[in-house]
Structure formats: C-alpha cells, structure tokens
Symmetry: D2
Subunit: 371 residues, 4 copies
C-alpha cells in the first residue's frame, strides 16, 4: 500500500518528502485514528472548487419513451413511484443529477395515486405534459397544469395523483435527498392511512398568498418554506414579460426571476431554490461561473448552452446541468420566439452559508472558445 501524499512546491503549501521514519510515524498515527495533515492538506484545501459533477444534457425525446415504458413494466404498488432518475456520471454514488440534487421524470396515469408520505427531504415538481395531475400537501389540494411549479416542503405530508378524467402526466421531480442524506438528517414516514384527506378549498394557498403586494389580514406564516405551494405558469410568464418591459436583461441570464416565499422574498424552501428566465429572441448571454449546482429545463423555445467549453443544444423539455464553478453561457436559437429556462438549484444553501462566489469571463468578449 502506498500512502497518500499530496505535495506542491509553492510557498505556504505542504511539500514533505516521504521518508522511512515518516512512513513509520504515519503508521503510528493511523493506529490512533489520526493522520498527518501535511500529507493531505493540499488535497483538502484546493485552490478552487473542482466539481465531481459532469455537465450532462438529458434529451426528452429519449427519456419520454423510457419513462412511459415504466408503466408497462412496474405497478405503482410495487414501485412506489414510476420514476426515471438522472444519474450524473460523477455522482452515481449518491444518485444525484448534479451536486447534491436529485431529479427524475415521473409518469402517472389517470386514476393513479401515490401513497401519502412525508420526509425531511424537500421536493418540487414541474409539470411537463398531461392534464388532471394534482398534489395534496398537508391537506391543501392543488390542480396542476403545464409548466406549473409546486412545492412539497420538508416534513409535509404529500400525495400525488392524476384524476380519472385526466391524461397520462409526466413531470420533473427535484429533491435535496442526496444533501439531506449527506447531512445525516433524513427521516421518512408513510402516512398511517396511506392517503391524505383534502381539508381546504382547492388551491387555497395560492389564492391566499399569491397576490402581489397584498397579504391576508391577520395571516401569519413562520414556517421555513413558502405558504404559496403552487406557482402557476400563466402568472409566471406574464411576470417575466412585465419584468422584461421594465428593465434591461442581465448579461449572464437575460431576464431571470426567482421563485420566492412571498412572506420573506427569500427562497421557496431552505434547501432548494428555483428560477425561471427568459432569453429574448436572438439573445445570447456572456459566460460566467459561480458556486452552486444547477439543473435546467427548457420549458419554452430552443437554444444552446456552452458549459466549460462544451456545447449542448436544447429544445423544449430537455434537461441539463451546470456544475459548481463551471463556466456557462446560454443562447436563444430563435430570432422571433423567446426561450424560457426553468432552473432548480441549491442556491439557498450556498447563500445562507456564505459560500456564494461569482466570476465573469473576461477574455474573448465574454464568450468561451468552443471545444
């Protein structure tokens, strides 16, 4: 066996040669569940982050057929949920799509219903196709349509279903499962009745809390997540358009709006953030990089992104990821139609813990050379 020894010949960095005496010393240390810092210091204190995740694009035309086939292959009873999850080549040990974020495509047929349960992991759904889908979260029922975004926060009972008169539905799930597991804080519980009663008027939370600049009198909300459980596409797209009329685009994101908890203007949940951005016809961003892990879904139009020098072309429903500290830039393929990208990320964690850092690409007029 050879011992690790990460040497660098730079002032202030460890650079200790192995000697027989030292190797013996390392053996002794190991016997006491210790090690010599200088053998690993350069490894554990890197000059800058090097993500384990790889940039990947998952093409919907491939995966749609796959996830639909699961309906023939497994029953909801046996499978729990029929989901194809995104397995980043660098993160398959924790079943993550990127960083510590889990994501998958779920399919459900009319009349089906998942067992009600709850967990410490927080989840979102983003509706991709089909009609009649609904979710019940802590007794609040929400009807779901195309491009709607819905929360099932940490600790809430939830149940997903498609009504009898609906059509087969596919949506993107996103969870912080890998992160909450890494923090060794994940708990799971099946609802004692396997199902969950609807206790409020349909869509009551969005009707109560989803009104710009108006809050319910006497209403208070102090939970760590948004009381607005559903964010509807129509209002979201309208907001993007209003915002686009009122201000110049960001050079790195076009017009990007973050989904927020309306009672704090902060992230929808403590561990997962989401945004929707609009690239105007013909618009291409410049490149930058920042910490945090990002999973995009194109939900309108088409275009491409260059991530660490690699080009990924995307069209509606394609999904791709940008790992931490990876250079990235996006471009709309059309000169007449806008393109919209939904993004799920761990920014709330990165920001809350003071770990956000950002850098613009200075060279080449802000654009990466394509590989």
């Amino acid at each position: 066996m050879t011992r690790e020894n990460h040497r660098e010949n730079v002032a202030g960095r460890a650079n200790v040669e192995d000697t027989p005496e030292l190797l013996k010393y390392y053996d002794e240390l190991e016997g006491h569940h210790t090690g010599a810092l200088w053998t690993v210091a350069n490894k554990i204190e890197p000059w800058e982050p090097k993500s384990q995740s790889q940039p990947v694009l998952w093409r919907y035309r491939d995966l749609r057929e796959k996830v639909l086939r699961s309906v023939e292959l497994v029953t909801p009873e046996k499978a729990g949920r029929r989901v194809i999850y995104f397995n980043n080549p660098g993160r398959s040990d924790v079943a993550a799509a990127v960083g510590w974020i889990y994501a998958g495509l779920q399919v459900m047929h009319p009349g089906e219903k998942a067992t009600a349960h709850r967990h410490s992991a927080s989840a979102i759904r983003f509706i991709m196709e089909g009609s009649g889908a609904y979710t019940v979260v802590d007794g609040h029922k929400m009807t779901l349509g195309r491009n709607d975004f819905v929360l099932t926060p940490n600790g809430t009972w939830h149940e997903h279903a498609v009504s009898d008169d609906g059509t087969p539905c596919i949506w993107q799930d996103g969870l912080d499962i890998p992160f909450v597991n890494a923090m060794e804080a994940n708990f799971f519980e099946v609802h004692p009745d396997l199902s969950e009663p609807v206790a409020f008027p349909v869509d009551d939370m969005t009707k109560t809390w989803g009104n710009a600049g108006l809050t319910p009198g006497g209403g208070d909300w102090s939970k760590g997540y948004s009381p607005m459980f559903k964010y509807e596409w129509d209002r979201t797209y309208e907001a993007l358009n209003h915002f686009s009329e009122a201000s110049d685009p960001s050079p790195f994101d076009g017009h990007l709006m973050e989904y927020v908890n309306p009672t704090t203007n902060g992230p929808v949940m403590k561990t997962l953030g989401a945004s929707m951005q609009r690239l105007a016809p013909g618009f291409a961003t410049k490149a930058h990089r920042h910490t945090g892990s990002y999973l995009y879904q194109c939900c309108k139009g088409s275009g491409h992104s260059i991530i660490n020098g690699q080009r990924f072309d995307w069209s509606e429903r394609d999904i791709f990821c940008v790992p931490s500290w990876a250079w990235h830039e996006h471009a709309n393929a059309s000169d007449s139609e806008d393109a919209c990208l939904f993004c799920l990320n761990d920014l709330p964690v990165i920001r809350a813990l003071g770990l956000y850092r950002e850098e613009a690409l200075g060279d080449n007029n802000g654009h990466q050379p394509e590989g």
Copy 2:
C-alpha cells in the same frame, strides 16, 4: 390660578389633598421646572386610552363640490396644491383627520402639474375619479386609474400631474405629517428644477416587483419602504375575491388584505399602513376595538358602521374615521353586491413599537347597542 390635582380614591393611585404647605411646595418646584408627580399621575397614566379624535363621516357628495370649487378660487401656483383637508374636531390643532394622520381631497385639471418636492413625511394617494392622473416618484412614472393606490415615501422626490388629454381628477391624499411633526423630524425641500425628469420605463417598479411569488434576479431592495410604488385596483379586487374563495371571513373585518412591501411582507411604509377589505353581500361584522387610528374610504358598494355606539351610513367615496380604542363594526347594505373599504392607518407605528392591543365586544352577541 388653581393647580391641577387629579385624585382617585383607589389603592395604588395618587390621592393627595391640597394643603397650603403643599401648594407652597408646588410653587417652589415650579420654579425649578419641576412638578410633583402625584398631582398629575392619574391623568398621565389613564386606565385605558381615551382618544382625542371624534368619529366623523365626511360625505363625498358634500365635499366633491367643495373641492371642485377650489379650482375657481385659487391657482395651483399660489396654492401649491388645491386640497380640502379633513379637520377632526378633536385634532384641529394638528390638522389631523384622525390621530396623527393627515388626509385631504385633492383636485387637478388636465395639463396641471404640482411642483416637485420631497419631505420626511410619507404620503399615499388613492384615486377617486378622473383619468390621466400620474405621479412621478424618484424618476419612476406611474399612470393612475380609479381605486389605484400609490406611495410617495419619506424622502422621495415626487410630482403629481394630470396629462393634457385627461379629465379633472380627484384623489384622496394621506400623510403622516402630524406624526412626523410631533416627532420633530419633518424636513421639506422644493426640487431645484421645480420638476422631475422621468428616468425609467412607465410603471417599471410595479412591473418589476408586483409579481406574486417571483422576485427579480439579482434585485435587492433595502429601503424602508416598498419598491412597488403603485398597487392597481384590478389586481387588488381580484386578490380579494381569490382570498374570499379560499377562506372564511374574519368576524371583525370580512376579507381584509393588507397592502405590503413585497420584499418584506411588512407595511408599505414605516409609518403608514393600508388595507382593502371586502364585505360579502349581506355580511355584517361583530364589534371590537383596538389601538391605532384608522381612516376608511368606501370604494365600492354601500353600508354602515357603528362607532362607539354612533351609526354612520356610507356609500361610494364617503370617508370616515375610527379613533384609537373605539368600538366599531361594519355592515354591507346590499344583499347582492359586495362592499369594499379602503383603510389608511398608523398600524405600522403601533405594531413596531409594541403598542397594539385588541378586544372583542362580548355583550349583546358582539354588537353595540345603537345610541
């Protein structure tokens, strides 16, 4: 001259008889700019608040004609603004409508424009009639329509006007002038150019910040007031209807929503709050009382309020006040149409300083006996 001496024959309260020796002592104290607490303690520590303000209703059909006449009587140049202010009989020393709140009706003709200025007092406008009104606040221009609610916060440059192609406009002004004067903190400045340039797209702030559950990416706002300067009536009324569908009415307010700063979910400004409430057809509230001063405007429908036992009937555009700690209850007069009340108040002050207290009327099934 007789000295004040507020005696009460209750354990723990002052009850000292005047004697020649004491009266001489009081004279000595006065010579040193002091007094004996026990002569005034019962006065300055009352058992409960007794407001100096009286409940008053200002009828629009009376005042409309009056304010329109001001146009003939004074020029904008000489008058500054043509405004009829509400002078509560108990508060005429500070020109307040109720408590420490100033309010008035302002009229402006097409093509007129008020001199741009700023002050430490915070202001709101609520549009009552006419078309073409607009306001510029720190370079942000807002077009204003019926029942729109607009802010000109503490320290912002502002300019009100009606466009050439508009009609005569009347709106309600509301300010914390008496309060800021009482705090001895009011500053006033005329704009050096007497006018203020428009520096942003029209209505940009509402387009940027007025989107439920979505915040502009990279946008931060840390001023002590809302970045959403205008709250439009259509969205407000829609919000009230959504809220009404989703929840039961408050027994004291029906469906009441507070106008809020979307970045904090707190009040629109630090010293003035506002709400809009909807009384369903046939709905009558029960009576309660609380601290704080309240000025209502009926902006839809008709009904009546009972305030400290006195009945006030109101219809569209009538304005009335509820003083601090006064019993009050409201009723919609119609069985088919809803009634909406706009309310301007000092709740942000009362709440921020820990002075809010509330009590429900227990007797008589929650209703006051009418006097």
Copy 3:
C-alpha cells in the same frame, strides 16, 4: 376671529391672499369639518424641525433637597410614588422633560415599597444614591446600586422598594408616558395583590443573559424588550474603558456605547433607548445636531455642554436635555479625570420609523459660538 393663513413667497409654497370670497369659502369648509390646505400647508410642512422643547439643566443640588422634602410632605400610600418630575417649559402640557419623554427623581426610604402595577408605558430607573434599593419585574428581583440601569418594560408587573437595612435611595425614573399617551395606547393596571411575589433567583436575568458572546443553550427570547433587565455599573464602566482602549473617540460623542438587548443587539426596549458615554480627560466634542429627544445625566466627573449656543455647566447627578435638531457639543472639565454621561432617548422610535437625520456643524472648526 382671524383665520390662520401661513404664506411664504417661495416657488412651491402656498401664498394665497385672503379675500372675502375665500374667507366665506373657508367658513363653508369648516362646517364640513374640513379646511383649505393652502392656509396651513407652510405651517405643517416646515423646512426643518423646530422643537417645542427648550434646553434645560436641572441641578441636583437644588432638586435633591426638594425630593427629600416630599418624604415629609406626603405618604407613599397617598402619593403612590414620591416623585419630582421634570417639566420642560415647552412641554408642560404633556408633563415631559424633553420631547415625549417623561422623567423624574424618586425617593424611597428603607422598608418602603411601591404598589405593584403594570402599564403600556415602558420605564427605566437609574440609581443615583443610597443602598438597598431593589426592583421586582415579572417575578425577577434585582438588587440595585449606584449607576445601575434597570428596565421595567411595557406590560411587565413591577414593584420598587428599599430593603429594611438600606438607606434612603434616590433614582431617576424615565418613561415614554407622553409618547404612549400621544399614541392613545396607554393602559394601566394595579396588581390584584398590590404586591408581586419573587419567583426566580435574585438577579437571574442578568446572570443568564448578561454574558458577552455566550447565550443560554436552549434559551429563546422573542419579546420586544431585553431579557437582561439590569445593567450594572461596574461592567458598564469596564466596557467603556475597554472600548476606549480599542478605538478612537467619535468627534461628537467621545466613546459612546448603547445599552442593548443582548438577543438582538438592538435597543433595550422598543420606545426608549439609553447610552453611556465617556469623555476622556480634557476631551471636548465638536457640535452636531440630529433628530430625537435626549435627556442626559452626568454620572461621573464634570463638564459643560453647549446647546443651541447656550452653555450649561454640569457636575455629577445634574440632568439636562437636548431637544430634537438642536446643535450640541460636550466638554469634560477635567484634565485628569474622565466624565461619563448617561443618556435616555427616543432613538428606537426615531430609527425604527426612518426619521433619523444628522448634520455636523461645519463652521468655526465645528464649535458653536457661545451666546
């Protein structure tokens, strides 16, 4: 009767001549509880604050004798409390020492005890002389010594006393009574038992919360006031000295520290703030002015202050006030001893409501010409 009409010949200000027609119009308006804004606008929108309070110095050698005499003149049972209150010539209508702050000197003899009670007004005590004084606040007993500062916040039961083995005690009371009355939010209650049981170890709150950089595990505190009810002089003076060693003095205040709620680093109570400042031997500040009302007590050394051009010399236990927006500067009289000023103020209100403004004196090297 002549009507008010405050005219100014300045663009943007009201300047309307009285005419018979207008005077008649004003009468009509009055009949509807309204007035014409242009007649009062210049009055209620001043260019800058003009305080109603006058700068006053209350000399302890005069008042000490006066307050001690009250012991012979009135019984605690009849007087409630034997207090000489400071009556600012400009604020005697509300019994205030300055602005909206009430203050007085209270005397209590060994074995005496005030009736337990509570009120919406918030109070502080600052111990001036004597031994054996104690206060019970919501069951927490605190022993009090010279220059100790103690809180009896809004809504807490409290009882002041001097133990049998003590000596006659004099302290300064400070309350927001005038302000809470002005807000029409003052409630008063005598304790049903007239006295209040001690329910915790003596000085438990200061022992629990008064530890720099350490907070009780599992302890939470969400009330609107500090859980540290007593601030002891020894630790305060030590803090001032540490702070003086570690940083340069402020040109306007020397080394000033604010008493704070240790759970928020904000003011001790929502409506009253307090600070202690140290002027090094020979130190004299420059002049500035700001909004807010301030009542100083010299609790160590001697010196003078110049307030709006008027000089006030003070030594230990003298009390003086600085009204809102008054120019002021302080100087230590000694070249060998430091001087300390305790200050009670309404800064928490001024700051919470966004009304703080400050200006340094530029002329004459920052010093006022003495009148």
Copy 4:
C-alpha cells in the same frame, strides 16, 4: 455485475423483483445517464439517519506525544502546519473527525509563525497548552491563553504564531473543510506577502464587541460572522457559573451556553457552532439524540459519556465525537469538582436549513443500557 435493488416489503416502499426484461431496461436507462428510482428509493430515503461516522475518543496522553514529535520530524516551511488530524474510521475519505467537520491538534514552538493565507473554509482554534500563542485575523491581533476560543472566519486573512518568549503551544483546530469541499465552494489563497501586518490595537475586537448588553455607538457589523474573534476562558467560565446559579440544569446538557455572535445572538460563524457546558459535581445527564455532528473536548475535570451504548471515559484534553442521531449522555466523575466540555458542531447548518430533530430516550429512566 449485479445491479443494486433495495427492496422492502412495506406499503408505500419499493419492492420490485428483478426480471430479465427489467434488467435489460435498466441497462438502457444507464445508457442515458439515468436509473430506475424504485431500485434505489429505499436506500436513498431511509427511515431515519444512519451516520457514517463512528463514536471515537482520542486520548490526549496518546496524541500529545505524537504531535510533539512532529516538531522533530518536519519543518514548518515544508509541512505548512504541524498538525495531527482526527481521522474518523467512517469518514477517512474526507479526512473528517465526525460528519463534515475536520479537526486536528497543532503544535507551534516559540518564534514560529505560519504563512498567512485565507480560504472559504471557516476555522476555530481552542488553546490547550502553552503560552505566547497569538493569531492575527484581518489585521486584528489576539493573544491566546488556555481554553481561549478564537475564530478565523470564511475569507479572512489569518496567521498563527507563538511569540519568542512563549512556550511550545498546542491547540485544537476545527474547520468545515470537508463540508465546504462537499459543497464544491472552497477557495484557497496564500497571502502575497506570506505575512500579515497588525493594523489595530491588540485584542481590539473583543474589547469593542465583548461587553454584555453594550454595543459600540455608531458601530455596525453586517458580516456573516461574529466581530468578537476571541472568547476568553475566564469570562466564559464566569458566565457558566452565573448561569448555573440562575437556573436549573438541562437534563441532557447540564448548564450549556452557546458561543454567539454578539450582534445577532446567533452562531459565531455560518457553518460552525460551538458551546461550553458545565456538569455540576456529581451530575449525570439523561440520554437523547439529535441530528448534527459534534466534537467534544474535555477542558476541565473528568467523566464519561455513553454513545450508542458504548462508554467513553474522558479527562482533561481528551476529545471525542457524537455522530448524528446517536444516543448520548454525559456524567461528571467527581463529586466535588465540576467538569466542562467544549463542543464544536455543525448546528448552524442543521438549524439554518431546517434539519434539526431531537428525541429523548424514554426507556430505562432515560439511560442507555451499557453494552
């Protein structure tokens, strides 16, 4: 190769048998960087956390000799820092002592100085023995003595040293290196001058910010970490004693105080928390468990802890860890002397992200059966 397939025969959990058809389907999914959720769902959604860390006790009498020997074996120039780090058997892949926390023992001889540098990882030091140690953080120099606790927050330049007239010093380092690496957000920079100038009076930050209930006038601090960089032992021990006099011990912790940022009463840094607790003579806690990772150092007295049924006896300077969700209870070995435990943990992360959960042991009068 066999595929993972985590089956459970429980309603609401995945339980799908492998079939040739499914295995072929899994192969296809893998080709698209995806997988079938039902094969891993039960693994990634466990019923409760199962920590990868093992409970370990590191005995100082073993390690002291080892760390001192490093002085003979490597030079500071080559090694950077002479540190023996704690290598938890379950976490050696990330060089963590427990969970995502790195810790080690560092030795430094008089006249030695480490190269100044900074990184995104946050660090603490806890002084174990020796005199003359000091740290410079962003120009603020702090002298360090036994049991003093000092911060070098995320992004601050820092330099550790022992003065020429000191003695060999040993301290415990603690960092969030594994966590910040996991978040892919770690940056490292060597100071351009390799050393850092002292720019303020010695210990200025503790003198300025370390005063209970008093904050520097005009001082504001909005960084994500405490401005009080050093917490001295004398004040800490005094605080523990005051707290012990004023309140009953927690059944699970005795008298525990958290080190806090005095401007927020929150954790000293965003990613690392610390506490000091006192077990009175003869005191033994009951068992409980909670999420989060904890590294204890006994810094006074002796005793034992039972962790998941395993007993660990500790005396002064021994270090041991409690993994997430492990049952634990502590006991003081002495009937006459108190015992103090310093604890470094990731509670700020766990709490900020809503992942804290706690459970008391109900059985056996709250005590674990020893294995």
